[in-house]
């Protein structure tokens, strides 16, 4: 399809794949071969030329090997006030000895679950990177929350990444929750060193009816980290899924988040902040598919872009013909702090039903000068006044994080970045 420079090299990676899930892997490999690595001409990757970036930075397309992670490293990496459970990874490999035994939750390797329907939610034909992961992932984690279980303590997925020569790290998760189950995940990666590496992550979440799943992610990796993630979930009847994604750093980050609303009275919420400086480039592609009547989706992404950073927002809402009485709301607001910062924002609504409430909007602007003057006129230093206003701008998303210790942590990071102390 597209002309590829790296396709052959990735094929090498594909050839190193384990023998399990052979049908799923073969399907994914074929899917990848027909798609190829997206280059600048690919519509879905128009503003994020990941092919070129990989070519420039990934000299060694081979699976990154796990390295030693000590319990001290784990302890010093957990944010203050966190009292939940913990699952630890080294370059994508699960480290059970450093992880919690989570009461009431089954945690095992994907390789131990031979009949798992890998790729049935995050389908390889939808994205070349999902296909590469499915074709070549080494192993992954299966997490299952039983029916009616209310897991009160959040589960922190703590990944340590350090790859030499720009190797490839391919985490894969299958998370399922039985009917009425409630659980919260926090996903955080720690970069060790400044080496470039490529994380290609896939998370498939399968919830039952009336489940309440929350997925919070902090992306604050090294300035040379390249990451693509495909996160997709099926939301069933009366169920709610909420994602909050905080991006603060990275070289090139692409987040594909897809929600399939499959049951009536289901609710999908997608929130995000990208607060970027330097040359960081963060691309959030979200997709919500309303397939049935009486479902609701809410989306709010906010961007603050300084220096030469670049943000991309593409939010697609698809309302099928049967999905009458849909409520779908989408908003993307951006503040550019420098002449060189760039935002490409594209709301996409495709509505086939005729009795729906849908709204979308995007704004791109600078700081409100009148508000800034008002704060200064009360004696507040200009830099701090700017920080205060930007913090208030981001606050609307931050407050969506219900897990307090994590919210406070993100809050602190954002305040530090904005140079405000409140």
């Amino acid at each position: 399809m597209s002309t590829l420079t790296k396709q052959d090299t990735f094929i090498g990676l594909l050839d190193t794949a384990p023998n399990n899930f052979s049908a799923a892997r073969t399907l994914a490999k074929e899917s990848y071969l027909s798609q190829g690595i997206p280059v600048a001409k690919a519509e879905e990757y128009k503003f994020s030329n990941i092919g070129k970036k990989l070519e420039q930075n990934i000299s060694n397309v081979a699976p990154a090997q796990p390295f030693e992670v000590t319990s001290e490293m784990v302890h010093s990496s957990i944010f203050a006030g966190y009292e939940g459970d913990l699952l630890v990874f080294s370059n994508g490999k699960f480290l059970p000895q450093l992880s919690s035994k989570i009461e009431g939750v089954e945690v095992s390797l994907i390789s131990e679950k031979n009949d798992l329907a890998i790729g049935s939610i995050a389908k390889p034909e939808k994205d070349a990177f999902a296909a590469i992961n499915q074709a070549s992932f080494e192993d992954g984690l299966f997490i299952s929350v039983p029916k009616k279980a209310q897991i009160e303590r959040p589960i922190l997925l703590l990944s340590f990444n350090q790859a030499n020569g720009g190797q490839v790290i391919q985490p894969r998760f299958w998370i399922e929750a039985g009917d009425f189950a409630e659980v919260t995940f926090i996903d955080q990666s720690i970069s060790l060193g400044d080496n470039s590496y490529f994380v290609n992550k896939v998370i498939e979440l399968k919830g039952g009816v009336n489940t309440h799943l929350k997925y919070y992610r902090l992306q604050n990796e090294s300035k040379s980290a390249i990451e693509v993630s495909n996160i997709e979930t099926d939301v069933q009847k009366d169920a709610r899924f909420t994602s909050v994604n905080i991006s603060l750093s990275g070289d090139l980050v692409r987040n594909n988040l897809s929600l399939n609303l499959l049951g009536s009275n289901s609710e999908g919420n997608m929130y995000g902040i990208y607060l970027l400086n330097g040359k960081s480039h963060v691309d959030n592609h979200t997709n919500v598919d309303h397939t049935i009547p009486h479902a609701e989706s809410n989306e709010l992404y906010k961007g603050i872009l300084a220096d030469q950073s670049r943000g991309v927002f593409n939010g697609k809402i698809f309302v099928r013909q049967d999905a009458q009485k849909t409520n779908a709301f989408q908003q993307n607001n951006n503040i550019l702090l420098s002449e060189d910062a760039i935002i490409n924002t594209k709301p996409q609504l495709e509505i086939w039903a005729d009795d729906v409430k849908c709204s979308h909007g995007c704004t791109v602007g600078q700081l409100d000068e009148e508000a800034l003057f008002y704060l200064q006129a009360r004696g507040i230093d200009k830099t701090q006044a700017k920080g205060l206003l930007l913090y208030a701008f981001a606050g609307e998303v931050l407050e969506k994080i219900e897990e307090e210790s994590f919210r406070v942590y993100c809050d602190t990071l954002i305040q530090e970045r904005l140079g405000s102390k409140f």
């Binding site: 409100d368 000068e369 009148e370 508000a371 003057f373 008002y374 704060l375 200064q376 006129a377 009360r378 004696g379 507040i380 230093d381 200009k382 701090q384 006044a385 205060l388 206003l389 913090y391 208030a392 701008f393 606050g395 609307e396 409140f422």
Partner: protein, 254 residues
């Protein structure tokens, strides 16, 4: 305290202030009146440091310092307070956090120790009484969803908290009903002392029944064309501004 000499200021190339001269001493209340578009609000904005205005000539000396050299926040810390004609709504910024930050930055500049949460609250409660402002308002985002009267009361409340030496009230009375006007004026009067001064910018004489000025100046076409006592304000109330305009225009043609 404040000495304005031959002040000229323009916005986007249009000259608004064309040679203002004004002396304000501690303990005094000066009213600046004038028809719409005469430059009253511009004068208030230039004194507070609004960046859109370019000062093209003249000087402003405040407590011995060249005010025009100072950033808006430094002017505030030096003791200049502008009560905004249109207070800005700032969603997401809590009134209390904002004010505590402001008060402590001002205190730090003045060599006073920062107020801790308890002392700050005590001060707040004391000053709230001055303008009969409800604490519920202050737990909300700054000015967000406040009524016109609440916004103006909040301005005077902030003034009380920041303890300025020169307060400039920019059309603080416009849009207020009698009750709100009485409350706001009462607050201003209680804050008056022989150490501070007030400049009241207004279109209407009504406010001056409540805040009684020592001097009244009429601003027209960017200059102070007439000064007098509070009686001048009453005369303006009775006769309107036309006779002033005629006086100025006939003087110009002579």
């Amino acid at each position: 305290m404040l000495s304005i000499k031959n002040l000229h200021a323009s916005i986007e190339g249009t000259e608004i202030l064309r040679g203002i001269n004004l002396e304000v001493k501690a303990g005094e209340v000066h009213a600046i009146m004038g028809p719409n578009g005469s430059g009253k609000s511009t004068l208030a904005s230039v004194l507070a440091g609004r960046e859109e205005y370019e000062v093209t000539d003249g000087e402003v000396i405040f407590k011995g310092k060249n005010l025009l050299d100072l950033a808006p926040e430094v002017r505030a810390r030096e003791g200049v307070f502008l009560a905004f004609q249109y207070p800005v709504e700032i969603p997401g910024v809590s009134s209390t956090n904002f004010l505590r930050t402001a008060v402590n930055q001002v205190r730090e500049y003045r060599g006073l120790e920062a107020l801790d949460a308890v002392k700050f609250l005590t001060l707040m409660k004391e000053k709230m009484k001055l303008v009969e402002i409800d604490q519920k308002l202050l737990s909300r985002s700054l000015n967000e969803g406040f009524s016109g009267g609440e916004k103006k009361r909040n301005e005077i409340f902030q003034m009380a908290m920041l303890d300025p030496t020169l307060s400039i009230l920019d059309e603080t009375d416009s849009g207020l009903d009698i009750d709100a006007l009485r409350i706001v004026s009462n607050g201003v009067n209680q804050l008056k002392s022989d150490k501070n001064a007030t400049i009241v910018v207004t279109h209407y004489q009504r406010l001056l029944d409540y805040i009684v000025p020592d001097y009244v100046h009429v601003l027209f076409k960017g200059r102070i064309v007439k000064s007098g006592t509070k009686d001048l304000a009453l005369e303006l109330e009775e006769k309107g501004y036309d006779w002033i305009k005629e006086e100025v225009d006939s003087a110009a043609t002579v």
